[in-house]
């Protein structure tokens, strides 16, 4: 591929060409970085090893016969249908919404941004319960796709709109001036630049859908993950359940590596950002009413329906008021677990991201991808792997807060990785090299030059991970010190006894507290962007 100015104008990825900035090849990561990446790698390898050993223990006898059945094929079809449909639908809706809020003359953009991001504050099992109670049509595959799509839209919308906002509109202007229409210039200039944000978050959503259980337990859709829970519930065979988990990891494997390959050696950082002018908003014209209607629908479907359901529970339930005194302590415990868990997860994610965005190497690529495979595993499998390892090799550590934190990190590393990566890709690695040339050690160069530039990504990672950790149930139930009560455990406990009125305040507290990071992030990004 030869570097040419014309090519760079049409295809910003040509900027990755070594000659574009006179840079050399990506180097091998320094030793300290490799060592730091090995910590999360080792942690994440444990459940993978556990699944492998259990599958092996199941013995070769009948293992394949067990797998090759119409039932398993049906699960495979369902799992793939759900994961692919949700990812594609959410990807399209989120990109369109991001385009409208960032590039069009939509009035009241700050509110539409908030409306699109807010469903993130509602746990999937709450919105799923709300929707399923509306009628049987929402309990089938179509309903599952609908419910989980609304749930997933913000996960893609937030990074994509942030990426859109940071684009320099000059690239587009040049493309348009060279005769490309609006759609074609979007496809050839804008899309490649938001691709990392889009593909990274889409990967996250598809892996998450493989492991989704809470939402599906209210619906009539069977996937590998629901079958794994069934296996524990009916056969009491941890080996057979591990076998199905192994299949799940195999499904996730190509997705994780294809995403990395798509990202390829593209380079998104610019040495000098120049001073991009503000893009001129595109007039929506006749499209305005349907677009506004679309945003209203998004807000009602993703946020309004679950909230109304919670109110209905409180109004109708005879158990309303039970356990109300536990809401505040449970909220504090939830925060006490989610915040340190988010810090640990983010700390572990940073070296992984730097090692793969600024350097190249097989080991670091593997340790960067492995967490995504584990993200596609049901929580119960990861929790049992932790039980199995901790009880044998660290019995004193078993069922302590520290162990739960480590399991949280294993479960949610990819969320932190994606958020930090979005920032890391904008930091030119030359920054570190300059610091080195000024006589700093590699580690100091990282601390002084690279790390401060990651702050926005680190902040986003903390918020996203904390959001998910507050909803985490299985690992908390099995591994936290006995008697620990969080918002999620209380919600589970009351709903499983059908005391919906009593459960509602805990769900509402969960939504409210989750709304805080969502609100702050959306409002803050918009305040800066809308400043004249």
């Amino acid at each position: 591929m030869r570097w040419s100015a014309k090519r760079a104008l049409f295809d910003p990825s040509a900027l990755n060409h070594p000659k574009a900035f006179g840079g050399g090849r990506y180097g091998v990561p320094p030793l300290w970085l490799v060592l730091l990446s090995l910590i999360p790698f080792g942690l994440v390898a444990l459940p993978v090893g556990y699944v492998g050993m259990r599958t092996y223990a199941a013995g070769s006898s009948g293992i394949l016969r067990d797998l090759v059945r119409p039932y398993t094929l049906n699960l495979l079809v369902n799992t793939l249908t759900l994961s692919v449909s949700v990812t594609v639908c959410a990807g399209i809706i989120a990109t369109a919404a991001a385009w409208c809020t960032e590039r069009c003359d939509l009035p009241g953009r700050r509110w539409w941004r908030l409306a699109t991001a807010l469903p993130l504050a509602v746990p999937a099992y709450v919105s799923s319960y709300a929707w399923s109670s509306l009628g049987p049509q929402f309990q089938e595959m179509g309903g599952a796709i609908l419910i989980l799509t609304f749930y997933s839209v913000p996960l893609i919308y937030l990074p994509v709109s942030a990426a859109l906002r940071s684009l320099d509109p000059n690239f587009e202007d040049v493309a348009r001036s060279l005769g490309l229409g609006r759609w074609r210039s979007f496809g050839r200039v804008v899309l490649p630049q938001i691709a990392p944000a889009l593909s990274g978050s889409a990967l996250l959503v598809s892996a998450h859908m493989l492991a989704e259980f809470g939402a599906l337990s209210f619906l009539r859709v069977e996937t590998f993950t629901t079958a794994i829970y069934d296996q524990y519930a009916n056969e009491f065979n941890n080996d057979a359940a591990a076998l199905l988990s192994g299949v799940l990891m195999l499904i996730c494997l190509p997705v994780a590596f294809i995403e990395a390959a798509l990202r390829g050696r593209r380079r998104f950082a610019r040495i000098s950002r120049g001073s991009a002018r503000k893009p001129t908003p595109i007039a929506l014209g006749r499209l305005m009413p349907p677009v506004v209607l679309g945003f209203v629908a998004l807000a009602i479907l993703g946020f309004g329906v679950p909230l109304v359901t919670l109110c209905f529970w409180v109004w109708e339930g005879t158990s309303t008021g039970q356990g109300i005194g536990r809401v505040v302590p449970a909220l504090l415990t939830s925060l006490g677990y989610a915040l340190p868990g988010a810090v640990l997860t983010t700390l572990l994610a940073v070296p992984l991201v730097i090692a793969t965005t600024h350097f190249r190497g097989r080991l670091v690529t593997l340790s960067d991808r492995l967490p995504y495979l584990v993200h596609g595993l049901p929580g119960i499998v990861v929790a049992l792997a932790a039980v199995s390892v901790a009880i044998r090799y660290a019995p004193l550590f078993y069922q302590t807060t520290g162990l739960v934190m480590l399991v949280y990190a294993v479960l949610f590393l990819p969320l932190a990785q994606s958020a930090v990566r979005a920032s890391a890709e904008l930091v030119p690695r030359e920054l570190g090299e300059v610091a080195r040339s000024l006589g700093k050690s590699p580690f100091k160069a990282f601390l002084l030059a690279t790390l401060p530039n990651l702050a926005p990504g680190i902040g986003a990672a903390l918020a996203l991970v904390a959001l998910q950790l507050m909803r985490e149930l299985t690992a908390t139930l099995l591994l936290a010190p006995a008697g620990v009560v969080t918002l999620a455990t209380e919600f589970w406990s009351y709903t499983s006894d059908r005391a919906y009125g009593a459960a509602a305040p805990f769900a509402a507290a969960l939504v409210l507290i989750s709304g805080v990071p969502v609100y702050i992030f959306t409002i803050r990004t918009l305040r800066v962007a809308d400043e004249p």
């Binding site: 944000a197 524990y232 009491f236 903390l462 996203l464 010190p481 009125g501 990004t525």
Partner: protein
Amino acid sequence: MMFILNRRSFLRGSTALGSTAMLGGTVLGGTALVATASRVQAAETLTLYNGQHRATTEAIVAAFTKATGIEVTMRNAESPELSAQIAEEGANSPADLFFSEQSPPIAALQEKGLLGKIDDATLKMIPAKYSAKDGTWIGASVRTRVITYNKKLVKEADLPKSIMDFGTAALDGKFAYVKGDGFQEQIMAIVHIKGRDAALAWLKGLKQYGRSYNGNRIASTAVLNGEIAMALSNNYYWYSLAREKGEAGLDAALYSFPGDDAGNIFNVSAAGMLKSSKKQATAQKFLAFLVSKPGQEAMVDTTAEYPVVDGIVSPFKLPSLATFKAPVTPADMGSAAEAYALEREAGLI
């Protein structure tokens, strides 16, 4: 993700968030250490893995602690999860006791040899049909298999006369079934009374004509909302629904088959002691209390289940157990491996 943020304000925010979080972590970590230390010191504290309704077990534990002064630490989760967890923990399990919402999860531990023998005196307090043959677990409460039906969609007189009708085209699309919580017990009863072939045909019919739901609670809600006419379920799901929504306006009702049909069976919640427990004598005290009069009273007050001993009155309006027979007892069932094989053969799982 938000790379356009004002960096300085963001750094400040992240640092504040970070240090608060670290502080929280240290405090929690400290509490955990203290908790571990106290667990070692106090000899009279039992650890109970609880899969039964939390409110029910809490009531029993409170009564037990009041009567004996022995503290009980509960870990709550779904019974199958706890069973899988104890299986992973093996001989190192911190649990002294396991209380399961159904008998199969605890029978699975019995088959793995992880349970200790319960005192004969305790076993003699309840009918033999409610406990394990080798005396490693006891039934703590009894519930019945029933049909939950919607009164607006089907008249009581038109309801099927036998559980076997559910495998036939006559009920196509009219009923819900859930592959768990009492379903295995139902299959085993049909195997015992009608034979293996009949059970297989019944399961195939179920797959063809019924609608599978992922949980009993959601299936009975579907009946209540009129989405489907009937559901195969356990009795207590309807009672908890009736308690939450008020019985008066409820469109859903319970039905049992006439005579001694293979559908009229019971199952039990069950408790046992871990063989690895270092507090066997204390754990035995808890099991004895569970089936004693005060233990059973605490049980029936909080859930619509039948007591395992005579002379206890439930505040719920439960019909007589007389028509419910025991073609297979929970002990015969074990972890229901045969039911599982049949479901697999029928393509249900």
